[in-house]
């Protein structure tokens, strides 16, 4: 029969787009929504003047919510059916070629953009002071990009789920804060003060790497959920030690007046030996912000280059092989213990660098800055960007860190939600919804493909995420 061979000719024969079933399912969702929200939203308790509590029905609100659920469910059903159909007809669906091209050019392009960013902002604003917010935001974004790239080594490449990454960030920050505030007080070492940041930066990285190894050893045998729990606990232990070891860390009060970084020995002050006076320009506190911005650009660039190189070295390939199949690795003579430890320690080292920078930039740190939420955000950046993808981390940071900041200022949302709408109140909600939508749309992150580290042919072809494993600890 002709119609059997060409189902496209008869829309009713289309297997995916069954409106009846979609509607039925939507109605079921509506009933469930009614049952759930019926009492939660359907009634409001109000106190009368006589101190009685009365129930005020909110029929319209309830009806509205249920309607949203029904319509939303109906549309999702149609969309997923449509997608299933297009997937069937075009099974070779890969990442957007434009995105792939972008990934290849990502390094230089983002570096140029990052280097030019303050200049563009300052020219656009016409003066230094009013640019402070945007340059500060740039520093924040780059710090998270760097942390994301560091965690990407552990989670994305080696496939070890680390929920306590913020611990290494804390180790780096406290290393700088404690060393810088105590060392300069020692007699005979005062001359070191202007150089403190540059001395402590490598120390912070190394100490964090050491802690990475210390954490790595006990958790090497653990996989998957168990590894995640222990790393989570490790992050909490570090934070609790910071809170409770008051003699050293000053507890919850934190460490303040941490020495600020200098321009290779020249402090950013209005003094005669300061940066501004030496170069013969008018003193402006923005100089330091811009300098800090370029420090984090350099740190992030180093992280990027080192990670990119490591990936192409035997150690990087061993990380990825470990993520793909640990038993096969061992059968090929790879010492999986050492391989995991190097992944942990290198990831931790970048966290330590970022922590040192954070302490120097803030001038004040306390355990409050190193809560689990930070680990979760960094992990969300890595997962949302796509495990193992460097470009993905940049985009995800823009979305997850830049997004909420931008939502603070979006006045146009008032036009949609009315004049009494306060975007700062709802920004986290909007962000959450956005994250859920992205994960529905791209379950393996924004960039799910994997770049081969070496090719025989000239042209590198990205590997579809369907083949790439996520690791299991």
């Amino acid at each position: 029969m002709a119609t059997m061979q060409s189902p496209a000719a008869d829309p009713a024969m289309k297997p995916g787009l069954d409106y009846g079933a979609a509607f039925k399912d939507a109605c079921l969702a509506g009933i469930i929504a009614f049952l759930i929200f019926g009492l939660l939203l359907g009634y409001e308790t109000q106190q009368t003047l006589t101190n009685q509590i009365i129930l005020v029905p909110r029929t319209m609100l309830l009806a509205g919510v249920v309607a949203i659920v029904v319509i939303g469910r109906f549309l999702i059903n149609l969309w997923s059916a449509h997608r299933a159909q297009t997937l069937k007809t075009a099974p070779t669906k890969t990442t957007n070629p434009l995105l792939l091209k972008l990934e290849a050019q990502a390094g230089p392009a983002f570096l140029i953009a990052a280097v030019l960013f303050p200049a563009i902002v300052i020219i656009a604003n016409g003066e230094l002071q009013s640019s402070r917010y945007l340059v500060d935001l740039g520093i924040l974004l780059l710090t998270y990009v760097m942390l994301g790239w560091g965690l990407n080594v552990v989670v994305g490449l080696a496939g070890l789920l680390d929920l306590g990454y913020v611990a290494f960030y804390a180790v780096g920050a406290y290393t700088y804060a404690l060393l810088a505030t105590t060392l300069v007080k020692l007699p005979g070492l005062e001359w070191l003060a202007p150089w403190m940041f540059w001395i402590c930066l490598p120390v912070s990285g190394l100490l964090a790497a050491l802690w990475g190894v210390i954490l790595g050893f006990p958790v090497l045998r653990l996989r998957g959920d168990y590894l995640a729990i222990v790393t989570l606990a490790f992050g909490e232990i570090i934070r609790l030690v910071l809170i409770n070891w008051v003699d050293v860390t000053n507890g919850g009060a934190g460490i303040s007046s941490i020495p600020r970084p200098t321009f290779f020995g020249l402090p950013f002050s209005a003094a005669d030996n300061g940066f501004a006076a030496t170069f013969g320009i008018t003193f402006d506190p923005m100089h330091r912000i811009i300098f800090l911005y370029y420090v984090i650009v350099a740190l992030a660039a180093v992280t990027f280059i080192v990670t990119l190189r490591l990936r192409r070295l035997p150690i990087g390939r061993a990380w990825e092989a470990l993520r793909e199949d640990e038993i096969a690795c061992r059968s090929l003579g790879i010492n999986t213990t050492n391989t995991k430890l190097t992944a942990f320690s290198i990831g931790a080292m970048f966290g330590g660098f970022a922590g040192c920078f954070f302490a120097a930039r803030q001038g004040f740190i306390s355990p409050e800055s190193f809560v689990f939420m930070e680990s979760a955000i960094i992990l969300a950046i890595v997962v949302l960007g796509g495990l193992g993808s460097m470009l993905g981390v940049i985009i995800a940071t823009m979305v997850l860190i830049g997004g909420p900041e931008m939502l603070r200022n979006v006045e146009s949302l008032r036009l949609v939600f009315g004049s009494d709408f306060d975007p700062t109140k709802y920004r986290m909600l909007i962000l959450g919804i956005g994250m859920v939508l992205i994960m529905i749309w791209k379950p393996r992150g924004l960039i799910s493909t994997r770049e081969p580290t070496v090719t025989l042919g000239k042209k590198a072809q990205a590997i579809s995420g369907d083949f790439v494993k996520e690791g299991h600890g």
Binding site: L310, L313, E320, R330, S331, G333, N335, P452, V454, A460
Partner: protein, 305 residues
């Protein structure tokens, strides 16, 4: 009858190997020898303990009892006693080196004793390219060449040369398994037969002295099975690697192996040349699971005795 090769040019000697899992005895006092340059097959019905033997040899299991001796070269036979009495996993003299495999963890069995293996359910790095799979196999060599990553990070010439050599070696193996055209594709995207051959090539890229293949012909069609036989014969012809394989496919076993060891319920029931084993009534009865005369006849006809 002349002394078989495996008695005087031994690469692997399994001696009174016993493996117990709780109360279950998977292998019971198994002893056999594999000759250098031979293809030795271990056969037996399902659950006979073949894969357990493999896991003991490659260090994935620690045997409950017994000794697993691997010889590199032809070291003096007087080395074995001091080695067994001592605590070190290996000992060497001018002519060669002896390893006690049960004393080595799995990755050192591969790295030091140079025993490579494949798996019954293929274990490729499916998200990595075919070429990358073959480079990961040369990890230890490349790690040394990259100065434990330091030289590699700096991009020194000595490392780049070593990497180029590793790629050349991988390319050689790709040509041998006819996968050069697919070198940059994900290993997981290959058809099943190609994956089997790639896994063997990957194991071979680690320059093993002994290659252990766990059911290499499982799931292959006759054409792929033929290609596999040719590949294994090619490896034997080079004479650098001895092969130990577990197999169900009788045509593969009888066609290419030099020596067959038959297991049933964890004990050895026959050991000898393929012809000897094929005609061993114990094998026909026990291994093939025949109960009465008629069934034995039918099976004999099937295997072509």
């Amino acid at each position: 009858m002349q002394v078989p090769l495996w008695e005087h040019d031994t690469i692997l000697s399994v001696e009174r190997l016993t493996m117990r899992f709780g109360g279950l005895i998977a292998i019971n006092e198994l002893s056999f020898k594999a000759a250098r340059g031979h293809i030795t097959a271990v056969i037996g019905p399902n659950g006979a303990g073949k894969t357990t033997v493999f896991n003991c040899i490659t260090g994935f299991y620690k045997p409950t009892e017994g000794r697993l001796v691997l010889y590199h070269g032809k070291p003096g036979s007087d080395l074995l006693t001091p080695l067994t009495d001592g605590a070190t996993p290996d000992i060497s003299d001018q002519q060669g080196r002896v390893f006690l495999l049960e004393r080595l963890p799995d990755y050192l069995v591969a790295q030091k004793a140079r025993v490579a293996r494949t798996f019954q359910n293929i274990r490729l790095f499916s998200g990595m390219t075919v070429l990358e799979n073959l480079l990961v196999a040369q990890h230890n060599h490349l790690m040394r060449a990259s100065g434990w990553t330091l030289k590699g990070i700096l991009g020194l010439k000595s490392y780049r040369q070593a990497e180029a050599a590793a790629i050349a070696k991988a390319r050689q193996w790709l040509e041998r398994i006819h996968l050069t055209a697919r070198a940059d594709d994900a290993a997981g995207a290959l058809p099943y037969g190609d994956q089997r051959r790639l896994e063997i090539a990957r194991a071979m890229c680690s320059d093993p002295q002994l290659l252990c293949l766990d059911e290499p012909a499982a799931g292959l069609n006759p054409k792929e099975s033929g290609e596999l036989n040719a590949l294994l014969r090619g490896i034997r012809a080079e004479g650098l690697t001895s092969i130990l394989l577990i197999e169900h496919d009788m045509s593969v076993v009888m066609e290419i192996s030099d020596h067959v060891v038959v297991l049933d319920y964890g004990t050895k029931i026959s050991d000898g040349t393929p012809d000897f084993v094929r005609n061993d009534p114990k094998v026909i009865a026990a291994y093939l699971g025949a109960e009465d005369e008629g069934e034995v006849k039918a099976i004999e006809a099937e295997v072509g005795v």
